[in-house]
Symmetry: C2
Subunit: 207 residues, 2 copies
């Protein structure tokens, strides 16, 4: 997917193929958010005017670069995420033993399928926190890009959360459900910060 042109990837997204779909779009959105944080850092680092923020910006840049690659990898992984569930549904179910094995395989597949969007949600939450860290020291010329980074990451977060939920509702093990739900809720806390960043930037632009 990473070697596909933007035009072709959007055409694939629009097509009747099941993948790429909303899961991959969420991953790309998290990657765009991370890339914009990198840009903000790159346009702030090395300028004497912003020297006091140099350390924060250098650290943020390293993390943003890592998160962009991770998000892009997750966008690629998304196409495979559900394949285990699909394969499990095709298992034989003639005997009680077969039925039990099939149910167990479906359940294991659902837990695996939830792992990719959960990872996207976590990366997106990290991008939001990183946008918050660069907000104060950002070169004012790219302040709006800090807000766009937070907005793209917020969309990635809420989109990934839906894809976790889709799998979550079919998982029967209460412990597994609880583990996934609590991990997702933790990531979702960052939505409030994304809104706050958007509002702070809008206020500074209009000031």
């Amino acid at each position: 997917m990473r070697k596909t042109t933007i035009e072709d990837w959007l055409t694939d997204l629009a097509s009747e193929l099941p993948a790429p779909g909303g899961g991959a779009a969420a991953g790309v959105n998290a990657a765009m958010g991370a890339a914009l944080v990198s840009m903000v850092c790159n346009l702030t680092i090395g300028k004497p005017k912003f020297a006091e923020h140099e350390t924060v910006m250098r650290e943020a840049l390293a993390e943003a670069e890592r998160l962009r690659l991770e998000a892009l990898q997750l966008a690629e992984d998304d196409a495979e995420a559900f394949s285990g569930v699909v394969a499990a549904y095709k298992l034989p179910k003639s005997s009680d033993e077969e039925k039990a094995a099939r149910t167990a395989a479906i359940q294991a597949g659902l837990v695996e399928a939830a792992a990719v969007p959960l990872a996207v949600a976590k990366v997106a939450a990290q991008v939001i926190r990183l946008s918050g860290r660069v907000l104060e020291g950002s070169n004012p010329n790219v302040l709006s890009d800090v807000a766009v980074a937070a907005s793209a990451a917020k969309s990635a977060l809420e989109s990934a959360a839906l894809n976790v939920d889709i799998n979550l509702v079919s998982i029967k093990d209460p412990a597994e459900r609880e583990r996934l739900a609590s991990s997702l809720n933790e990531a979702l806390q960052s939505k409030v910060q994304a809104e706050a960043i958007m509002q702070a930037v809008a206020k500074r632009i209009r000031a």
Copy 2:
């Protein structure tokens, strides 16, 4: 830009180059939203089970295809949007006549520069309305993609709005300011619908 690979475009976005930046990211987000509406339509059309929604889905598909191409074109145009302002700032300002001509050119450039993000905001608002139109009749297997489409378009809308505002605050003609602000506010009304779509889908997934 459309012929760039996703990986390379994200690297350009992350770089210290002024373009692509948040404006282009907003355009890509609107295009992702439109592409997902197309996917939803493509996976609903032609299935006897959803025959009663066939007409709506066919109309929505045609509009989503058009909006995707328009959003991608706007993402490309964004790099050029600010070039008129940059050129105007470089005009000579030795005499009063030169100063007046330079100010007029800067003002004209700002109005032009606001036009691209305003167009992105309008396209994003249309993608949100289109997500709302396909919500009821969507193949339930791709219901989450309707919500991801609305979320991506909402991010495009709020990001583009910031980029309109950046130019708006420097425009001196009250009539021009009013025209841009009122046009932007109309598009921003669709944010509420995007939230409602996200919530409706989340509720149906958990039901």
